[in-house]
């Protein structure tokens, strides 16, 4: 019998539709896989056995009754713990929210539930999505299925690892500076950060409101397209939500899979390669460019001179917005409450004690930075100047998209580093995001997909960027490259990952 956990979401959807398998079987297979490999991977903070199976049974029943169901009905999914789920604990990886059970669902969760996707559980992440390694989780680190001694990327290491370890065919991630794309790159999976406003932010525990965007984490480009169409589209509860319908992504992915890219102009961003990039990363990148050329694409070089300022602008914008967004965690209405060890018990002191104990180091660090950047008299010079850099980066993108239909770069400069290796060096950690941050600052969509293994045998990610609201281009070019590379590899890259102990199929 086929191992159901090895199938893609699209394949599962087909078998469910044709009633070859039931959702309960599919969901149970994934729960079994989770039970087997979680001790090694630790991708999940909470596994929702009963709820997932109940949803699966309900979908099976409705299908049997002949009800018209969503294409992905019955396909299980994992949800990053930064997304609010009614009745399921939601912590955003922080101790300050330990045990919090939200009384409402994020819009994207409502859509998952309405479409009948069993939610397998909540995935691990850096606390409040601050980090690039998942080492800043308040609940232990997640391990990269390719090498358990290495990071799975971050902040959404849990979602990427769950998908890479066949614990879930689909997962939800969020991307503020690369938290979907960089984990995808280092785990050999696909991750998409949609155009800002494509997927509702209502119900995402906010990190940086003007940068955050939720998106799909999957093993194939088509699966990402399927999930993006499900969770995307306008939401009146998010004022920054675009009015555009989320359609055309699946069609674009299917079109791209034919491998024909004639007439497509691919722009290589000069500033996102060279120094600081591993030779193996660059070699895989060049090979992918060759593949694109082979499919008829025209590859040109473009320059985005202000991308070198992106990191500095990001350092100012993210902490500033985060310091304000995280002010609500004060021990008054929900979550942890800590009383000061001595002295009077006043609201002020309880808030400070709660936040001092409940937040981890990285969170405290960024809140302090952000509070400082906004405090008396600094706003214009700090946050205000950083917003000007956003304008310059948008202009760079606009100019580059005159010369090319999509832009490309390696997703991350290196493959997965070892756990603990950069934990004490925040700057080195941030450099991981250098290629992914410009898309967040400008609001444009980006995808990472596998482009092969580096010299160290670890996966390398290939990033595709498209103009705002042109997410379909990611799916077309991504699906084409995926098809070309998988042909040359004679199968998916993940097929080369080592078997996990306890998880032998």
């Amino acid at each position: 019998m086929t191992d159901l956990t090895r199938l893609t979401a699209a394949e599962l959807a087909d078998r469910l539709t044709s009633r070859e398998v039931t959702s309960v079987e599919v969901t149970q297979a994934h729960l079994d896989r989770i039970a087997a490999v979680e001790p090694a991977v630790h991708a999940f903070l909470h596994v929702a056995h009963e709820e997932a199976l109940a949803t699966a049974a309900d979908v099976d029943e409705r299908r049997a009754a002949g009800e018209d169901l969503h294409a992905l009905a019955g396909v299980p999914i994992a949800v990053k713990d930064v997304v609010v789920t009614r009745g399921l604990p939601t912590t955003a990886g922080s101790r300050i929210l330990e045990g919090w059970v939200p009384p409402y669902d994020a819009t994207l969760v409502e859509r998952l539930k309405a479409a009948g996707l069993p939610i397998l559980g909540k995935t691990n992440m850096d606390e409040f999505a601050m980090g690039s390694s998942t080492e800043h989780s308040g609940y232990g680190t997640t391990h990269n299925p390719w090498d358990l001694e290495r990071i799975p990327g971050g902040s959404g290491g849990g979602s990427a690892a769950a998908v890479a370890a066949y614990e879930a065919p689909l997962a939800i991630g969020t991307d503020t500076g690369g938290s979907i794309r960089q984990p995808a790159a280092v785990t050999g999976t696909v991750g998409v950060k949609p155009t800002y406003g494509s997927v509702s932010r209502y119900g995402l525990v906010a990190l940086a409101s003007s940068l955050d965007q939720a998106g799909p984490c999957t093993r194939t480009v088509l699966d990402s397209a399927l999930l993006h169409e499900l969770i995307g589209g306008h939401d009146p509860r998010d004022s920054t939500s675009l009015p555009d319908p989320a359609t055309g992504y699946v069609a674009a992915a299917r079109e791209g899979a034919s491998g024909d890219l004639r007439g497509v102009r691919v722009g290589v961003i000069r500033e996102l390669q060279g120094e600081g990039y591993q030779p193996g990363v660059l070699a895989r990148f060049e090979e992918s460019l060759d593949a694109l050329r082979g499919a008829g694409a025209e590859v040109v070089e473009v320059s985005c001179p202000h991308f070198t300022y992106a990191l500095a602008a990001y350092y100012l914008i993210l902490p500033a917005e985060a310091s304000s967004n995280l002010a609500k965690f004060d021990g008054m209405r929900f979550g942890l409450r800590v009383e000061p060890s001595e002295g009077p018990v006043t609201a002020e002191r309880v808030m400070a004690a709660t936040r001092g104990q409940g937040f981890g180091d990285e969170v405290k660090r960024r809140i302090i930075l952000g509070t400082y950047a906004l405090s008396a008299g600094y706003y214009d010079a700090y946050y205000g100047s950083a917003q000007k850099v956003r304008t310059l980066i948008q202009r760079d993108f606009a100019a580059a998209f005159e010369a090319a239909d999509v832009l490309v770069s390696p997703t991350a400069p290196t493959t997965a580093f070892k756990l603990g290796e950069k934990l004490d060096d925040p700057l080195a950690m941030y450099l991981n995001d250098v290629a992914t941050i410009p898309a967040n600052l400008a609001g444009v969509p980006g995808m990472s997909l596998p482009s092969g293994l580096s010299d160290d045998g670890l996966p390398v990610g290939f990033q595709i960027l498209a103009p705002a609201r042109e997410d379909a281009r990611l799916y077309r070019v991504g699906a084409a490259l995926e098809a070309l590379l998988e042909t040359s590899w004679e199968g998916p890259l993940l097929g080369r990952a080592p078997e996990l102990a306890g998880g032998a199929a």
Partner: protein
Amino acid sequence: MSTLSRDEVARVAVLARIDLTPAELDRLAGELDVIVESVARVSEVATPDVPATSHPLPLSNVFRADEPVAPLDRDEVLAQAPAAREGKFLVPQILGEE
């Protein structure tokens, strides 16, 4: 070299309502420099003629109709509160409030 003093970190920590240990204050005093460096960096190009971008995609006039939605269930919400009484959230007294 740290341009921001430990006192400055302590002041900001009060604003941010976070109790920091002496060791944390020392460590963060050095790390605030990243902000100063970033400012210097963006200042190279953030000239007065460049407009600021606050939203990645320009939208305006997004309004909601003045129509009620179902409220949250009070019991469900208060069950998640650290303390509650008589349908209200129980919080430590605010300093100086009568």
